[in-house]
Amino acid sequence: MSDVDAGPRDNPVPSDVDLRRVWTGVAAEVWRREPGPLERLAGQLLRSPGLARALLTTPSLVVPWLIASVVVLAAGAIAARGTGQPLVELVAPAVAAAGIAYAYGPGIDSAWELSRSMAVSDRMVLLVRALGVFAVDAVLGLAASAASGSAAGITFGWLVPMTAVSALALAAATLARSANVGVAAGLAGWTIMVLSGPASGGLIGYAVSNSALVLPYLAFAASCAAIVGYATRIPRGPS
């Protein structure tokens, strides 16, 4: 061993120097992960770094999920151009329902019990994530819809049924504590609506194009939202 190696390491640590504090300070800088621009923006809009982090770690907003959504909607757009049917508008609510069911909640979040004890309440996280997923899927759906050459009324008309189907999926997922149940409920409900058009002698696009359904859709969505609110409540005082 050289003089350099032997000499320095023989010195004991001065008794008043805390090397653990030194390492903790170093580790804090080395392990620090600076939030990206999207997270910083979300933190400012939501006024909560915790909510912003929760939003960006939503299971159905991670890149593979988004890619899958884009693929499904793109396929729908291509098929719609070929067949002239409003396929994107029929598929988009189903995609959103699946995304919302997998956004958050018992059955999805393995640390759900712990999340229930957090200052940023699980309901706030649920709300922000559901809205986030809905917004992203709405934008993707609108883009696919426009690309498929649909009329403007159809392009925007499916946002209302999408709201209703998403609310159904979320309510089912929350009550059953299972994302899969939520997806199944959402898809089943939407399928019934879509097929009720041809069954009653109407078009397959009946579910998205019938303006008389707007209010019923919205009322249904509000009911499902109330169910979610009830299922995630902590009541004031004894229950």
């Binding site: 804090a28 019990e113 229930r116 957090m118 200052a119």
Partner: protein
């Protein structure tokens, strides 16, 4: 007093999990002993504000958690380790602890240093950048302890914290408890009697939803005198003696 429980009950359907508990405790380490199904977890969950009580009053850190504002304030000052803590497999140790530090609304500027300190405190510094899916059960438990202590809580609730820890880690953990108990109220729920004896200044024994003993570990040990209670150690015999008496 950081914890004040008065006639606290919790019912799940027809099952009475907690059947009228009275407790008051301040800073220090408080052990909650009892067999499986005694109601320890339900009691801890109420103290963690995860579930509301069915009846009775609960005051935590001087506040009533039934209101949204006070509940949020309590949760900022609370640390909780559930009995079974799921984890996010793709997160690293640091990411997981940091995530919950943010959800506890710690000031963002303080988070990196607090996370580093918590990770080091549970001796996981060498695994800080490892994904949770690569860790053993004992290490995952320590990750859970780290997230519970990251915000320097005034009320720390630990449900079976030593599950999966080896003997050396359990010794280190008891030392951590004693440090934390100097300034905070630490409630440790466990069925491992020796953990309680080594670290706790005060002990309560629960059975069938009720507290059947409340005192020091020494007083619990003394309850075995003059009995033929089962157990390999004095505290275990005290535990058995009290349970037998409460059930007779």
């Amino acid at each position: 007093m950081n914890v004040e429980l008065t006639d606290l009950t919790r019912r799940f359907g027809r099952t009475q999990a907690v059947a009228g508990v009275n407790l008051a405790t301040g800073p220090g380490v408080f052990g909650l002993l009892g067999p499986n199904g005694a109601g320890k977890t339900s009691l801890l969950r109420m103290m963690a504000t995860v579930i509301p009580p069915t009846s009775g009053t609960l005051r935590l850190l001087g506040r009533d958690p039934s209101g949204y504002g006070p509940r949020r304030e309590i949760r900022r000052r609370l640390g909780y380790l559930p009995q079974s803590l799921g984890y996010y497999p793709g997160f690293t140790v640091v990411e997981f602890v940091e995530y919950f530090a943010l959800l506890k609304e710690m000031p963002a500027a303080q988070v990196p240093a607090a996370v580093a300190a918590a990770v080091e405190r549970v001796d996981l510094g060498s695994k800080a950048s490892s994904r949770l899916r690569t860790l053993s059960g004992g290490m995952l438990r320590r990750v859970g302890i780290a997230q519970a202590i990251v915000n320097g809580p005034e009320l720390l609730l630990l449900d079976e914290p030593t599950a999966g820890l080896d003997p050396e880690q359990r010794v280190q953990f008891r030392s951590l408890l004693r440090d934390l108990g100097q300034h905070a109220t630490v409630v440790v729920s466990t069925h491992l009697v020796e953990d309680v004896g080594a670290a706790c200044g005060e002990v309560a024994l629960m059975d069938q939803g009720k507290i059947v003993f409340h005192g020091t570990p020494g007083e619990l040990t003394a309850r075995a005198e003059g009995t033929t209670a089962a157990g390999d150690a004095p505290l275990e015999r005290g535990y058995s003696a009290v349970l037998a008496q409460s059930r007779s």
